[in-house]
C-alpha cells in the first residue's frame, strides 16, 4: 500500500503535545485563500522552482516529475510529493520513538487533507498504535463522517481546523461550504476522543468578534473541545506560491492586540 506524501518533518512541537513527527499528505479538497502550504493542495507530484537560486545551467530543461535523475545542486528545482510505501513511512516515524517517549509526543498526520487518503491513513494509524506511538490527525474535516469512523479507534487526538461559521464566506475563501465540516465536528465532539479546535485568524475574513462568538456558541452547544487555539495568519508560504507559478493572495497580519481580543472571547 502506498501514500502520496510531501514532507515528513521531525521535531514538530506545535502540532499536538510533546515532540512529534508530522507527516504531510499531499492533496486537499479545500483551497483556502490563505493556505501556507499551497504545494499540498494538488494530489499529484509537482515541480517547485525557486528562480532566485537558479543559475540557468539548463540541465533541468527535460526533467519531469517522473525523472529518476531529478537533482538540482543549487536547490532551485525540486519535486514536491513522493510515493511512499506504508513501511517506509512507519520506519521514518519510529526513528524518533525515544523522543516521543520522553516528551509524551508522537506522530501527527497532516497535509493537505490526510483524510482523503483514508485507506493509507487507517493502516498507518493502526501501525503506529501497534508500536505504541501517540497519534494525532490534523484535518479540515471536509470529508464523509465515515472516514472519521474508520480512524477513530486508532487516533488519540484530533486537531480540527475551523475557518468560519458564515457558510457563504467559507465557500468564497475555501471553495466549499462548511455544513459538512460543522456536522462532522459536532459528531466528533460527541465521541470521547480528545479534540483541539484550531482557528486561523485571517484579517478581513474571520477576524471579527461576531465570527468568534458564532464559532464559540457552536462549540459550546456540543461537548466543548479540550483546547481552542487561535493561530495568527502569516505570510510564510508566499515564496512557495511563486515556486509553483501561482499568485498568492495577500492578507495582512493580525496585530497582537487583535489576537488577544479574540482569544479573550474563548477564555
Amino acid at each position: 500500500m502506498t501514500g502520496e506524501i510531501f514532507n515528513i518533518q521531525k521535531f514538530c512541537v506545535n502540532d499536538g503535545p510533546g515532540i512529534r513527527t508530522t507527516v504531510f499528505f499531499k492533496g486537499c479538497n479545500l483551497c483556502c485563500a490563505w493556505c501556507h502550504n499551497p504545494e499540498s493542495q494538488s494530489a499529484s507530484k509537482q515541480i517547485l522552482f525557486y528562480s532566485d537560486k537558479c543559475t540557468h545551467c539548463g540541465k533541468c530543461k527535460d526533467w519531469t516529475v517522473n525523472n529518476d535523475n531529478f537533482f538540482c545542486a543549487n536547490e532551485a528545482k525540486e519535486i514536491c510529493g513522493k510515493t511512499f510505501e506504508l513501511n517506509e513511512v512507519i520506519d521514518e516515524i519510529l526513528k524518533d520513538r525515544a523522543f516521543y517517549k520522553n516528551s509524551s509526543g508522537g506522530v501527527t498526520l497532516s497535509g493537505g487533507e490526510c483524510m482523503l487518503q483514508i485507506d493509507f491513513l487507517e493502516e498507518l494509524l493502526k501501525a503506529c498504535k501497534q508500536n505504541g506511538v501517540h497519534t494525532a490527525i490534523d484535518t479540515a474535516g471536509h470529508v464523509p463522517y465515515e472516514s472519521f469512523e474508520r480512524v477513530l479507534p486508532y487516533t488519540d487526538l484530533f486537531l480540527f481546523d475551523v475557518k468560519c461559521y458564515d457558510s457563504d464566506k467559507h465557500k468564497k475563501y475555501t471553495g466549499a461550504s462548511n455544513e459538512l465540516i460543522f456536522s462532522n465536528l459536532r459528531k466528533l465532539l460527541k465521541t470521547n476522543k480528545t479534540v483541539w479546535v484550531r482557528i486561523p485568524i485571517i484579517p478581513t475574513v474571520n477576524d471579527t468578534e461576531e465570527e468568534m462568538l458564532a464559532i464559540k456558541s457552536f462549540l459550546y452547544s456540543c461537548r466543548a473541545p479540550k483546547k481552542i487555539e487561535l493561530l495568527p495568519y502569516h505570510s510564510m508560504g508566499e515564496h512557495k506560491y511563486a515556486a509553483l507559478g501561482k499568485a498568492a493572495q495577500a492578507f495582512s497580519i493580525p496585530s497582537e492586540e487583535k489576537m488577544m481580543q479574540l482569544k479573550n472571547i474563548f477564555s
Partner: protein, 683 residues
C-alpha cells in the same frame, strides 16, 4: 583600564633579557613570575566587595630574541614542523588549567608550602622545589601589597575592613566564609594565566559545589542573598575583564540554592563569561530545566549542557577508576577532567583527516603535495579502503605525535611553570613540572574534517564499490580539480546520504571514528593521554580554507563540518535526527570532547521548554557528552540574510508552520527579522 594580559610577560622579558638568559630555565621561570607580580598595579574601587583589580597597562614592548636554551637544532625543528605538510598542527597548549579549588579553599596555599618545605628537607637544594617556594613567596608579597592598598583605601571603599580581614586569611589559609572563598578563588584564578602566560580558558570547576558550604555558613551568619549576589557580580566583572574569559563554571548535577543563584546571575548580568556548564542527570529537577532553558541565556549560547553519566563513562573508558571518574569537572569548552590532576593541551594536535583519506585512496599519495605515505596499495573494496585508511592514519598521526612530544619536551625543559605545578597533584613529590608530573597529560587530538571524510567514504562505497558508476581514479581526478569539469560526479556525490540525518551514512562515521580512536590512543605512554575529539570551535572554517575539495562534494576552501555536527552539504537538518546520528558515534571513546550544536527559535524556548528538555535529556540517555545551544536573535537572522550558506539548518516557526529560513523570500525574511526584533523588545 587595561587588565593583565601576555604583555606583562613580554615586558618583563624585554626589560630583563640578559639577566634572565643567564639563569637556568627553572630559576628563570620563578624569576619571571616574581617580576610579573611586582609589575602589577592594583586598585580597590569604592564599590568593590573584595580585592580584585590587578592590571598591567604598560605599552606592548618585547624583544624577538629567544632564550639561548630555547633554540633547537635543525633536526628537532623539522620534526616539530613536519605535520604541517599534511595539514596538521601541534601545540603545547598552556591554557585550560583546572585546579582543585575545593582543596585550596579548605587548606590554603600554606598546605602546599608545608609540602614543599618538607620535601626540601629531604632534597635540599633541589632547583624545582626552590622555584616552587620562590613563587609562593612572590604571591605572599603580592597579597601584602593588596593589604597595604586596602589600608590606604584611597577610593574610600566601604567594605575595606571586611576585605582586610579576608586578605589576612586567604589565599594562604583556609577560607572561613563566602567572601573569603570568592576572594581566594579570584587571586588564584588571576595568577594562573600570569604563570602560564596564556590568558584564556581557565576553568572554575565545580563552583556551586565547593563554594556552597561557605555560602551556607555566611547565610547562617547573617549574609543576605542580595549581598552574595553583589559579591558574585563583582566576581563576574573581574572574570570578564581579561582575555576571552572563556572559563567554564560547572553547575549541578546536584542543584542547590547557590546553583540557582548562579543561574539567576548568569541571566541577569548578561556577560559573556563565564560559560555556564549545566550538568544534567536523570534527576535534574523541572524547575532547574525551566531556569536553564531561557531565551536570554540561549541567545548568548548559554548554557552548555553536559550529560553526567556519559561524561563519567568517557573518563572510565580513558582509564580512570569509576569512583574517581564520578568526581569529574567539565573544563573549558569540551574537556572532561579531574581537577588538579591534569595538564591539558586542548589544542595539542589538530589532525587533518582529509589527508588520511587522500593517502588511503591514492596509493599513499596526497592530492596536492608531494608527500607519500608508504605501504599503501591500490584498493578495490570498502574493507581494503578501511585498512588503507587505518595504515595512513597511523603513519600520519605518528608524525603528529613525534612533533607534539618534541614540543612538550622543549616546553618542559625551557619554559616550566612551578606555580601551576604546585597546584597539580604529585608534582611537589616528584619535584618536577606538570608536563611530566601531572597524573594525566592530555593531548586533545581534534579530528579535523572527520565527518566530511566519512561522508566521502559513504559516497565512494555507493558510487564506486556498490554501483560501479565511476572508478576511484575518476573521483580522485574530480576532487583534485575541485570538480571543475566534473559537475555530474559532484551531483552524484551530493545525492548520497550524509551523516547527521539518522541514515545509513552514520555507519561510515562510526567506522571512521573507531579507526581514529584506535590509532590515536595507541600512542599513549607515561602520563601522555592522546584524547580523540571532534571539537572544532570555529577552526573548521580556517582549516577548510587551507584544504582542497573533498570526496563528500565539499568544494575547495569551504569549511569542514563543525564539531560533531553534519557537513554544510546536508540539506535537511532536524535536531532529533542529528541527535540520533551523533549518539551513534562512539562518544565515550572521544573523551577529548565532541559537542553538537542546536539552534532554537525564541518562540520554542518560550513555549516549549519541556520539549527542549526532553530533546536534551534523550541525547544524554543515548550517550551524548555535550550539547551547545543557541537561539535566533534578530542579529543572527540578519547575518543569515547576508551569509545564507552558513545557515542551512536554521528553521523558523510560526504557529503550526515551520520552514528553513533560507527558503523564504527576501521580503519574508525582512518581515521575520522585524517580528523577532519586536519580540526581543517585549522579552
Amino acid at each position: 583600564m587595561a587588565m593583565c594580559d601576555a604583555n606583562i610577560y613580554r615586558y618583563v622579558v624585554y626589560q630583563n633579557f640578559d639577566y634572565l638568559d643567564s639563569l637556568s630555565p627553572i630559576k628563570r621561570s620563578s624569576e619571571i613570575f616574581k617580576l610579573e607580580t611586582e609589575a602589577l598595579s592594583m586598585d580597590l574601587k569604592k564599590e568593590d566587595e573584595f580585592f580584585g583589580w590587578m592590571f598591567f597597562d604598560n605599552p606592548n614592548k618585547y624583544c624577538d630574541k629567544l632564550f639561548s636554551d630555547c633554540i633547537v637544532d635543525e633536526k628537532t625543528q623539522s620534526i616539530i614542523q613536519e605535520p604541517v605538510i599534511h595539514g596538521s598542527i601541534t601545540t603545547v597548549d598552556r591554557a585550560h588549567t583546572l585546579v582543585d579549588y575545593q582543596y585550596i579553599l579548605q587548606n590554603g596555599l600554606s598546605s602546599y608550602r608545608e609540602k614543599i618545605e618538607s620535601e626540601m628537607l629531604k632534597y635540599p637544594g633541589d632547583e624545582y622545589l626552590l622555584a616552587m617556594r620562590d613563587e609562593l613567596v612572590a604571591i605572599e608579597k603580592l597579597v601584602l601589597r593588596m593589604q597595604l592598598a586596602v589600608e590606604e583605601n584611597s577610593n574610600g571603599c566601604e567594605n575595606a575592613s571586611k576585605i582586610k580581614t579576608a586578605l589576612k586569611q586567604v589565599p594562604f589559609y583556609p577560607a572561613r566564609n563566602f567572601l573569603e572563598a570568592i576572594q581566594s578563588v579570584w587571586i588564584i584564578h588571576f595568577l594562573l594565566p600570569v604563570a602560564e602566560h596564556a590568558y584564556y580558558s581557565i576553568s572554575l570547576g565545580k563552583f556551586d559545589q565547593y563554594i556552597y558550604p561557605f555560602y551556607q555558613k555566611s547565610l547562617a551568619d547573617g549574609m543576605t542573598r542580595e549581598e552574595a549576589k553583589r559579591i558574585l557580580h563583582n566576581f563576574y566583572k573581574l572574570l570578564n575583564s581579561y582575555s576571552d574569559g572563556a572559563c567554564l563554571l560547572n553547575v549541578g548535577p546536584e542543584y542547590n540554592e547557590l546553583s540557582e543563584l548562579i543561574i539567576e546571575c548568569q541571566r541577569e548580568f548578561s556577560m559573556p563569561a563565564p560559560i555556564l556548564g549545566a550538568r544534567i542527570s536523570e534527576s535534574t529537577p523541572d524547575h532547574i530545566w525551566n531556569m536553564l532553558i531561557d531565551e536570554k541565556l540561549f541567545s548568548r549560547g548559554q548554557p552548555t549542557f553536559y550529560g553526567e553519566d556519559s561524561c563519567a563513562a568517557a573518563l572510565v573508558e580513558k582509564g580512570v577508576a569509576r569512583d574517581r571518574a564520578l568526581g569529574f569537572s567539565n573544563n573549558s569548552c569540551m574537556g572532561i577532567g579531574l581537577a588538579g590532576k591534569e595538564f591539558n593541551s586542548m589544542w595539542g594536535c589538530v589532525f587533518s583527516i582529509s589527508a588520511v583519506l587522500e593517502a588511503a585512496l591514492n596509493c599513499g599519495k596526497l592530492l596536492h603535495t608531494n608527500l607519500v605515505v608508504p605501504g599503501i596499495e591500490k584498493i578495490t573494496n570498502l574493507c581494503e579502503l578501511y585498512g588503507a585508511f587505518e595504515r595512513s592514519a597511523d603513519h600520519l598521526f605518528d608524525i603528529c605525535m613525534k612533533s607534539y612530544e618534541a614540543r612538550a619536551d622543549l616546553s618542559e625543559k625551557t619554559d616550566p611553570d612551578p606555580f601551576v605545578s604546585i597546584l597539580t597533584d604529585g608534582c611537589i613529590e616528584k619535584r618536577c613540572d606538570r608536563i611530566s608530573g601531572a597524573e594525566y597529560h592530555n593531548v586533545t587530538v581534534e579530528c579535523m574534517g572527520m565527518i566530511n571524510v566519512s561522508d566521502g567514504i559513504c559516497a565512494i562505497d555507493d558510487l564506486v564499490f556498490k554501483n560501479n558508476k565511476y572508478c576511484l581514479e575518476e573521483l580522485s581526478e574530480a576532487v583534485k580539480n575541485d570538480f571543475v569539469g566534473y559537475e555530474e560526479i559532484r551531483n552524484d556525490i551530493l545525492k548520497c546520504n550524509k551523516y547527521g540525518q539518522n541514515s545509513d551514512a552514520d555507519l561510515y562515521a562510526i567506522a571512521v571514528a573507531e579507526i581514529l580512536q584506535r590509532v590515536i590512543r595507541k600512542k599513549d605512554h607515561a602520563n601522555r593521554k592522546y584524547s580523540p575529539s571532534l571539537h572544532t570551535l570555529t577552526a573548521n572554517v580556517n582549516y577548510g580554507k587551507n584544504w582542497g575539495a573533498g570526496y563528500d562534494g565539499r568544494l575547495a576552501y569551504e569549511p569542514f563540518a563543525k564539531n560533531a555536527g553534519p557537513s554544510d552539504r546536508v540539506r535537511k537538518k532536524e535536531p532529533t535526527s542529528l541527535i540520533l546520528s551523533a549518539a551513534k558515534l562512539p562518544q565515550h571513546k572521544f573523551f577529548g570532547g565532541q559537542p553538537v550544536d542546536l539552534n532554537f527559535s525564541t518562540e520554542i524556548i518560550r513555549n516549549h521548554k519541556k520539549e527542549i528538555a526532553s530533546l536534551i535529556s534523550t541525547y544524554f540517555q543515548l550517550g551524548g557528552l555535550q550539547l551547545q545551544v543557541n537561539s535566533m536573535t534578530s542579529e543572527l537572522l540578519k547575518d543569515a540574510v547576508n551569509h545564507p550558506e552558513k545557515y542551512n539548518d536554521l528553521v523558523v516557526r510560526i504557529g503550526g508552520y515551520s520552514c528553513y529560513f533560507n527558503w523564504l523570500s527576501e521580503q519574508v525574511k525582512r518581515e521575520f527579522i522585524m517580528r523577532t526584533e519586536i519580540e526581543e523588545k517585549n522579552a
